[in-house]
């Protein structure tokens, strides 16, 4: 079998000429500039994370309920509960993220900062795993990895608009992607390990990480599928044996949780999480994903095609295709959004990094087949020119990506001067600029309306709401948990979960409606009104709006019983 390579041959171009070429020097300079650009986004990310950690209330819708789940676990209680009984509360997320954060409740009491710190650290671990995967590919293929491309790949993950705005939240999504990425990186070469004990240990660790991802968020099922397909392609019998083992472990935890919660884990976290798909939202988010990350998606897709026809399919490629295809499509479900692309972004960062490093090393062997005869052989005489062009194209990919994901605050010290230099005008709340939005602030349906920095005025408004709850006699029904927690009041209901259950026909609500009709709540605070319609109707019949408080870009509507 003969190999056709696009790499320049010794006869066509000598290594000495290449190393001294202008192209290489320009390439290095451009790569350095790309590194500076992505490091700038890292600084923006750290500043944003620090800002959010100082903000003591809900920033993203639902963060407070994640904190409530964490508090319940810290007390040794399950958050999967019967929502027909007072206080009508249940969680719809798996437990691992909250269990990991629970010891911090013991140490620091209820607070948002440590959950946000965990999410932030999770993204750093993911970025590190991406960089390691890219570097390791070079070591395995050529004996040396490309450190700069590896660093750019990890930083590219953190520079993504999507990763930026969900990373430092008290939400479990970033941690799920961390476990997924670690699992994929651990398992990518597991089959090639010749030492039996080491291979088994690697497979066990990798599959435990997949289970950890699944028990952080249900969406990781797609990564489990990718891992299963990869292992099956590489060695079907091993895939069946280890797949059964992982299913037994994961299934046993599942059955235990269902039994221990009297079936509420199954009802609240699984049945209530099957939501309707809005295809238009998915399509809009796919377009946005490509417009922001196309500079990474195109090389990633090229590497997938290369592996499909000229090499072995890697776990990274299968993960990328499934995460983009299935999870991306699921972004259009109720409760979904651009965060659903985070796994595909991590996979794209790995694949594009490997593509870039191999291109710089002219490491593209093409085995002889009908496709290489058709498409590669005719290009062979252009190989030296293509190699020189590639030296410039690779850094331009990262520079193009850096331009596409532009986001920064425009009124904070230092950032203000940079924004003025770039002639960037804010298009989001609190003078933030986000390239995912149009100049007048419009954005695709499902794209999270966050990313801006909070202000002292937001914090003051939050404390104002806390004071109002403290002064209320009797129960207060707040759509966000943070105010009730800060006021020392009981958290009543998780509205979005009631809505999830209601959409699946799993919610009655008569006990809560009775309390509303009896006007047992002296205060109701609405934000997005994500309650089942009949709850909203009951509130409308028995309560009246008397004041609004603006905080973090939202209007918090205060309602009291009608006279």
């Amino acid at each position: 079998m003969t190999d056709t390579s696009l790499a320049p041959t010794a006869a066509s171009i000598t290594p000495t000429v290449v190393s001294n070429s202008v192209s290489q020097r320009v390439s290095r300079v451009l790569l350095g500039v790309a590194l500076l650009v992505l490091l700038f986004y890292f600084v923006v990310y750290v500043a944003y994370a620090a800002n959010l950690m100082r903000f003591p209330f809900d920033y993203d819708q639902g963060e407070g309920f994640e904190l409530v789940d964490t508090i319940l676990f810290s007390r040794g209680e399950w958050p999967y509960r019967n929502t027909e009984l007072f206080p009508f509360y249940s969680s719809n997320y798996p437990p691992l993220f909250h269990v990991l954060a629970a010891p911090l409740v013991w140490l620091f009491g209820p607070a948002y900062w440590y959950g946000r710190l965990l999410g932030f650290l999770g993204t750093l671990v993911t970025a590190g795993a991406i960089a390691y995967a890219v570097y390791r590919d070079g070591v395995r293929r050529r004996g040396n990895g490309h450190l700069l491309i590896a660093a750019l790949s990890g930083l590219a993950y953190l520079a993504s608009n999507t990763v930026y705005h969900i990373g430092p939240l008290f939400r479990q999504h970033a941690s799920m992607v961390m476990f997924e990425t670690l699992a994929v990186v651990v398992l990518a070469y597991a089959n090639e390990i010749e030492d039996t004990r080491q291979r088994r240990r690697t497979l066990a660790i990798g599959l435990l990480l997949v289970i950890a991802a699944g028990y952080t968020k249900q969406l990781a099922a797609v990564t489990a599928l990718a891992v299963g397909i990869f292992l099956f392609i590489r060695q079907p019998w091993r895939a069946v044996v280890w797949g059964l083992g992982a299913a037994v472990v994961g299934g046993a935890i599942f059955v235990w949780m269902t039994w221990a919660t009297d079936g509420e884990w199954w009802r609240q976290a699984i049945l209530a999480n099957v939501n309707d798909l809005n295809v238009q939202q998915s399509v809009g988010l796919f377009r946005l994903w490509f417009s922001l990350h196309g500079w990474l998606i195109v090389p990633a897709a090229l590497l997938v095609i290369y592996e499909l026809y000229f090499d072995r399919l890697s776990l990274y490629a299968i993960w990328f295709v499934l995460a983009a295809g299935i999870t991306g499509m699921a972004s259009g479900t109720w409760g979904g959004g651009d965060s659903y692309f985070a796994s595909a972004i991590a996979a794209a960062c790995i694949l594009s990094g490997i593509f870039a490093a191999r291109t710089l090393a002219a490491d593209w062997p093409f085995p002889d087949n009908y496709l290489s005869r058709l498409f590669v052989k005719p290009l062979r005489r252009y190989a030296p020119a293509l190699s020189r062009a590639a030296l410039l194209i690779v850094p331009l990919l990262y520079l193009g990506y850096g331009r596409a994901v532009l986001h920064l605050p425009t009124q904070e010290p230092v950032f203000r001067e940079i924004a003025a230099l770039l002639n960037v005008r804010p298009n989001a709340l609190n003078a933030f600029y986000d390239s995912a939005r149009t100049a007048d602030g419009q954005f695709a349906t499902g794209y999270a309306d966050i990313g801006h920095f909070t202000t002292p005025a937001d914090i003051n408004a939050g404390w104002q709401l806390v004071n109002i709850i403290q002064q209320a006699e009797g129960h207060a029904l707040s759509e966000e948990a943070g105010f009730s927690l800060a006021a020392g009041r009981e958290v009543i209901t998780n509205p979005t979960q009631l809505l999830n259950l209601d959409k699946r026909g799993l919610y009655d609500g008569s006990a809560l409606i009775q309390m509303i009709e009896n006007r047992e709540f002296s205060l109701i605070i609405f934000r997005a009104q994500f309650y089942p319609p009949r709850i909203l109707r009951a509130v409308g019949d028995h309560y009246e709006h008397y004041e609004s408080v603006a905080m973090n870009g939202f209007e918090y509507r205060l309602l009291r019983p009608k006279p």
Partner: protein
């Protein structure tokens, strides 16, 4: 397949994708044929699924000539 050195070839993967794609395509169309009381015709999600099945079948077809190279 029980051999620990067995690995799927490009041809085998191609056949799996071809058969799976064709079966999926037929199955999705069959929903409308068998479930005659169903209204609305082929919806957007079905159209996307049909497209993906067709792509899988074509990909499979293009892999079959690659023979016994490991997938």
């Amino acid at each position: 397949m029980l051999d620990t050195t067995f690995t799927l070839t490009k041809r085998q993967l191609g056949l799996i994708l071809l058969v799976g794609g064709l079966a999926g395509f037929t199955g999705i169309l069959a929903i409308d044929i068998l479930d005659v009381g169903r209204e609305g015709g082929i919806g957007p999600a079905q159209q996307i699924a049909l497209g993906l099945c067709a792509v899988a079948a074509l990909l499979g077809l293009s892999l079959i000539p690659l023979g016994n190279r490991p997938a």
